[in-house]
Amino acid sequence: MKRMDDATVIRQAAQWLVRLHSGQAGADDWAACARWRAAHPAHEQAWQKAERLSQRFGAVPPALGVPVLTRHIANRRAVLRMLTVLGLAAPAAWLGWRHAPWQNWTADYATATGEHREVTLADGSRLTLNTGSAVNVAWSDTERLVRLERGEVYVRTAPDTAAAPRPFVVETPQGRLRALGTRFTVRLQPAGNDAPATTQLSVLEHRVEATPRSGGTARIVKAGQAVQLTAMQVEAPQPHTADAPGWTQGVLYADAMELGDFVAELSRYRPGVIRCAPEVAGLRISGAFQLADTDYVLAMLRETLPVQVVLRTRWWVTVVPQGTVPDPG
């Protein structure tokens, strides 16, 4: 019986995927699918499989994947030729999943990698979305709720004009951040190898109350402080600059930042993969870098540090120690 139920859910999930991948799906299709997902935990579970499948396909450049996976077709050579002609365009498409089209489609506001966006909400509050971010806005009679689904957002709240003022809340997978009249940034940090996913809150003005999802102790975070939130707890506040974050001006500020961290930060603003060799990850870098031109930033690294920047393709960049590979000139 159980097995039959699984098969039914999988068939339904497959039907949704067929609809959404047609090339003609609109926002209402995605919304309908989101409702189906929310209707039952088993639906969401099946959907998670769909996401993993999508990531698996996304990890393969089409120029390599299509000829190999369709090798049984007689006109394979023709396909190969066609792809070689399309060559340059192809990798852009496979990077699609890093932009997480699933989430972008269902989100109210979203940005692609390298993009910024400023949004003014119904009450006059303003959100600035950093690169690769997505938010959903859920206004109700009792609160002004903004869900951060991905990335980073800079919030400037306005007083509510409703007769009974509603609190302004940013929700993340780790908890809820209630604004107490204020400016702050919220950033989602995906889980790493040995670290859980966290929310980073930096308060620039006034205060924000942070409550972990588990319902643990809430903490008031003041201007000039930053905290990390896991689903279980809010960690102790650290001092933090109260200036608007550099990225809102399109600048990445580094103050004796480790190169490994710098490269990881830079990779948020650039489609594709940038890696830093461990031998040079500990070098320090300082300066203000324009995020609009990551090519130039990469070129600058070569000028200022004993490193080489190897571009295998526009999308595969590795920072390695100087002299690792012969310089083309």
Binding site: S22, K49, V60, G87
Partner: protein, 173 residues
């Protein structure tokens, strides 16, 4: 050795043992003819019996044990040839790729492994369905474009896509 709990029943354990004694060398000989490689044949015969062990429920009513083993062996041979041809197509494609598109060595390894997983998943789709699915999921084409390129109707594209998604979702862990 992977084995489901039902293998522990003495009756099916005996049945597997009997099957092994009566048909093992016959199966190895059969596989050797197809594979042209004695070690590969012995390994594959071993794999075949492991599959029997994992599905002992099929054993009691087994009237044609050799037909049953042949079916399993055919599946294994199919996988074997598919992996061989994957390797060949992979090398051909890499060689034909313009240099500026070639992935770095470490990315190459990851891509190769992912392709293997995808290929295993798609192995059960009919060639046309597989082509359609790959054009959609890798190349990012819409159904109308796929229909035009493959020379089939859009309804058929949709049917193939549904088959592909169902199969893949069922196989995703």
């Amino acid at each position: 050795m992977p084995a489901s709990s039902s293998v522990t029943s003495p009756a099916s354990a005996l049945a597997v043992q009997a099957l092994y004694q009566d048909h093992h060398s016959w199966l190895v000989a059969l596989l050797r003819r197809r594979l042209n490689c004695p070690h590969g044949a012995a390994d594959m015969a071993q794999d075949a019996f492991v599959r029997v062990l994992v599905r002992p429920d099929a054993l009691p009513e087994l009237r044609e044990p050799r037909a049953y083993l042949t079916t399993i062996a055919r599946g294994l041979l199919h996988d074997h040839w598919r992996r061989r041809s994957l390797e060949q197509a992979w090398l051909d494609t890499l060689a034909a790729l313009p240099e500026h598109l070639a992935p770095s060595p470490e990315d190459t390894l990851t891509i190769r492994q992912t392709l293997q997983q995808l290929d295993d998943m798609l192995g059960r789709l009919a060639p046309k369905a597989r082509e359609v699915f790959v054009l959609s999921q890798l190349q990012g084409l819409g159904y109308a474009q796929i229909a035009a390129q493959v020379g089939i109707g859009e309804r058929t594209v949709k049917r193939y896509m549904a088959q592909g998604f169902e199969l893949c979702l069922a196989l995703m862990e």
